[in-house]
């Protein structure tokens, strides 16, 4: 239950981040104000007690008071996310390439990959806990396990979806397979790859936080559980805000890299203009 909730929360966070990205700074400020307003409105309409839903200014106060603690926990979570994401890219990209270029690998790897997409990987969290114990390794493993799939699938699809006429064009220009890959196939696939990386990053955040729920002894996910366990809702919400900010910042970091790498791709040009 908690796990599912966390997942939908981060997914909706991702959607919001995308809309913020396209809306510009003024709109994102407005949407932030709106969120705070709705938050107050909910409390007022349903007459919610602070131990159920603490008001924003109390949460802000908690963030101020527990600043150093939250920062330390954020650092723990951040390291796990980055490790999970980096592993996903390092492992997922080559596997995606293998699937795209080898028919045997495609037949061999793709079906189990698709099937395993349907399996909630989070269900494996307790197993990882049993294997690796509490802490960093378990959390990174969960993060990696969830985040690697979008990288593999988007890389494979991006590389495979090249227009066959482009291949003919390349052959007509005497290109070797290598030059065709470097100059046409890979650049054509990059938008799909980056779409995968953005999903992967948000999944890496989910994975790390879920890991901390299940097998954490530190980190923001652990902090949320610890705080709710003590009925300190305002501190729990302070940690949730911290995770949200972290997720948004990481998402934009990937998007920034995308903008730099794909600066001459048409999609980038149009949004930049």
């Amino acid at each position: 239950m908690a796990v599912e909730a966390a997942e939908t929360q981060v997914v909706s966070l991702r959607d919001r981040a995308t809309s913020i990205a396209t809306g510009g700074p003024v709109l994102s400020f407005v949407s932030l104000l709106l969120t705070v307003f709705v938050w107050y409105l909910l409390i007022w309409v349903f007459d919610l007690q602070p131990f159920v839903l603490p008001p924003p200014h109390v949460v802000a106060g908690q963030m101020w008071n527990h600043g150093p603690m939250l920062l330390a926990e954020t650092q723990v979570t951040l390291l796990q996310i980055l490790a999970g994401f980096a592993l996903s890219v390092l492992v997922g990209f080559p596997i995606g390439m293998l699937i795209a270029f080898s028919r045997i690998m495609d037949r061999l790897l793709y079906p189990p990959l698709i099937v395993s997409q349907a399996v909630p990987k989070i269900a494996l969290a307790p197993v990882f806990l049993a294997w690796f114990g509490f802490g960093f390794r378990t959390n990174v493993s969960i993060s990696f396990l969830i985040a690697v799939f979008p990288v593999i699938i988007n890389t494979a699809l991006g590389l495979k979806s090249l227009d066959p006429d482009m291949v003919r064009l390349g052959r007509a220009m005497g290109a070797s397979r290598w030059r065709l890959f470097v100059q046409i196939r890979l650049p054509s696939a990059m938008p799909a790859v980056f779409a995968g990386l953005k999903i992967s990053m948000t999944f890496a955040v989910i994975g790390a936080v879920v890991g901390e729920f299940v097998a954490g002894s530190a980190g923001l996910g652990y902090a949320i559980q610890a705080a709710t366990g003590l009925f300190n809702m305002s501190l729990a919400f302070a940690a949730i805000v911290a995770i949200s900010v972290l997720g948004v910042v990481l998402f934009f970091a990937v998007e920034l890299v995308e903008r730099i790498v794909l600066r001459s791709h048409p999609q980038q040009q149009r949004t930049a203009a």
Partner: protein
């Protein structure tokens, strides 16, 4: 209606060429049957035929991108077994790389061959300017109109001065006015400074007559060459020629040939 070619050995020599597609599950398709064709250096040949008669297939085989089921293709006497080393190919779609500028798309002809494009920069700029794209060399394809994009594709196919230029309905997707404009631009490009060897696929009678030294007419599937028509109009062809009696006469003759061979009516 055989047109007597020049006495010199042909650059491209096609003998009894046939092509059958026989992929599992899709059934047997006889695309081309007993094609004989000779193309001389400096000749502009238009392949005119109905949709599905195998024009693209023929172009792929002549350029070495595909292999025949029977018969032979020779380039300057040598059998063609791999994509021709020195050819230009223009497809129906421009196939520009969206992330490269117009200039870099033209220079792609060299980078894809593993050659240094820098010595060819000036030539590429001149070529782009000659088709009215001066000032657009640093634009990306999505900043250009369909006609401009196809011009870039043509420059890309010509920049390395290919031995043979293959064009597969390059103007099929541009509007009628742009098409007339591109036709005369192409005629100039291919006759100056010296005549280029071009094989041009179209199913537009006017376009075939306007561009070609020789129009080769193909029958519906399986594609065969059923007639050839020499076009003696002076080159490069100018837009106003479309109104001249000689031009209209050739177009009428082409239409008659198509009628005679059951392309326009059974």
């Amino acid at each position: 209606m055989e047109v007597s070619g020049s006495a010199a050995a042909p650059l491209l020599d096609v003998e009894q060429l046939s092509k059958v597609f026989d992929a599992a599950g899709t059934g047997r398709v006889e695309a081309l049957a007993s094609i004989d064709l000779r193309i001389h250096e400096g000749e502009f040949v238009a392949l005119l035929g109905p949709s599905g008669c195998g024009k693209s297939t023929l172009l792929s085989i002549l350029s070495g991108l595909d292999s025949p089921s029977g018969g032979t293709v020779r380039l300057a006497g040598e059998p063609v077994t791999a994509p021709l080393a020195q050819m230009g190919f223009v497809f129906q779609r421009d196939l520009l790389l969206e992330w490269r500028t117009a200039l870099d798309n033209v220079l792609m002809q060299f980078t894809m061959r593993g050659a240094d494009p820098r010595p060819h920069r000036d030539a590429a700029l001149r070529l782009l300017a000659s088709v009215g794209l001066a000032g657009f060399e640093d634009k990306y394809p999505w900043q250009l109109s369909g006609g401009m994009r196809q011009r870039v594709a043509i420059c890309r196919a010509l920049i390395h001065e290919p031995q043979v230029l293959f064009m597969d309905e390059p103007f099929g997707a541009v509007d009628a006015l742009t098409r007339e404009r591109l036709n005369s631009d192409l005629s100039t490009l291919c006759s100056e400074p010296e005549a280029k060897t071009v094989l041009f696929v179209t199913h537009d009678i006017d376009e075939a007559v306007f561009l070609a030294d020789r129009v080769v007419i193909m029958s519906p599937r399986p594609g065969r060459i059923v007639a050839e028509q020499a076009i003696g109009l002076p080159k490069p062809r100018r837009p106003e020629m479309r109104g001249h009696d000689e031009f209209l006469h050739e177009v009428a003759r082409s239409r008659e040939l198509l009628l005679d061979h059951g392309v326009l009516r059974d």
